[in-house]
């Protein structure tokens, strides 16, 4: 196999990897940050600033006197107050059909939610969790507080 051919194949594989990573993981965008906000992504701890992309399985952590505002791709608005831990367990959104899935947990702290397109087109696929409860939503704005420890 020629070097040129190999390069082309490697390039193609890399392209597919990038495309599929984008399609499966990218879930939203951090719009505003106050104080100390980080994302735990696997082993990595990432400092969050406006423009940071949120991925599936990310855990968003806010410190004292801190807060964060996030827009998910279906238009859902999530904003967490101080001392909060929010995990995006699952997220899929098809821009054409508006179908998909949203599953998020608030382990501690406070969270304000404005539901997006998913809660209209796939209401049963949208779930929010606290340590004690599972929430289903119907075209909704609401607040969540996890008492925690």
């Amino acid at each position: 196999m020629s070097v040129k051919k190999m390069k082309a194949i490697v390039g193609l594989i890399a392209m597919f990897a990038i495309v599929s990573a984008h399609a499966s993981d990218d879930a939203g965008l951090v719009k505003n940050v106050k104080g100390d906000v980080s994302i735990q992504r696997g082993e990595q701890k990432i400092a969050v600033k406006p423009g940071t992309r949120l991925q599936v399985s990310d855990r968003v952590i806010t410190g004292a006197n801190s807060s964060v505002g996030i827009t998910l791709h279906d238009g859902t608005l999530l904003s967490a107050g101080p001392n909060s831990t929010l995990t995006l367990n699952k997220f899929e959104f098809d821009n054409t059909t508006h179908k998909g899935i949203l599953d998020a947990s608030l382990k501690r702290g406070t969270l304000a939610v404005v539901s997006g397109k998913l809660s209209k087109s796939s209401p049963d696929a949208v779930k929010y969790r606290t340590p004690t409860s599972i929430l289903g939503v119907r075209g909704t704005e609401f607040l969540l507080e996890a008492g925690g420890n």
Partner: protein, 201 residues
């Protein structure tokens, strides 16, 4: 009897300690009124029960064992307790529509004024994402209109990039004549269908 009394007091001290340190503070869910006034609901399921809240400011407290207690908030109490989460809420999406001249990639003079409004709006947003969709009326072939609608969308993208919006926050597409606002027969010239819709959030 004396022994039991001591044990009871010890238990009381322990219980109040737990209460004071907040170890057992409940989870809470509060339904807010929808911005557009439409009805809404949250269904809360726990290990031991289920409750639907469907009135603005209706709330439930859920204890560690899953017991649900209904309560009521007000706009003031919500402000006091959840103000920082609410203040961090990103701005809601807005849609603008720009109209184009017949068969051209040139917008109407009225629409140029709308572009200025759009630019002002963009300044108030953190990291705005913009979705631009071009449309045409039903004059001409599908291919011609696909091309024209995409060129109109690109025109808007160029304006946005010129104001300093990064390219990677702008998504453009052309829908051709597939999605008219005013349904007409094929071949009909209709100014309200010659448009670009811009959703920003």
């Amino acid at each position: 009897m004396k022994f039991i009394g001591k044990k009871f007091i010890r238990y009381l001290v322990l219980a109040s300690l737990i209460a004071f340190t907040g170890c057992a503070s409940p989870d809470r869910i509060v339904l807010l009124p929808n911005a557009d006034g439409s009805p809404s609901a949250v269904i809360v399921k726990t290990a031991t029960g289920e409750r639907v809240i469907d009135q603005p400011y209706e709330a439930v407290d859920v204890s560690q064992n899953g017991a649900i207690t209904q309560s009521k908030e007000t706009s003031e109490s919500v402000r006091a307790r959840y103000g920082s989460a609410l203040d961090a809420q990103p701005k809601r999406a807005t849609t603008y529509v720009l109209y184009y001249l017949n068969g051209k990639v040139e917008m109407t003079s009225e629409s140029r004024a709308v572009v200025n409004k759009l630019k002002e709006d963009l300044k108030t947003r953190h990291v705005p994402e913009i979705i631009v969709v071009g449309h045409t009326d039903l004059v001409g072939s599908t291919e011609y209109n696909d091309e024209l609608s995409l060129e109109r969308a690109k025109d808007v993208r160029n304006i946005l990039i010129a104001t300093g919006i990064p390219d990677n926050l702008i998504t453009i597409s052309g829908r051709g004549k597939r999605d008219p606002v005013i349904k007409t027969a094929d071949g009909v010239s209709e100014p309200r269908n010659r448009r670009v819709e811009i959703s920003i959030r």
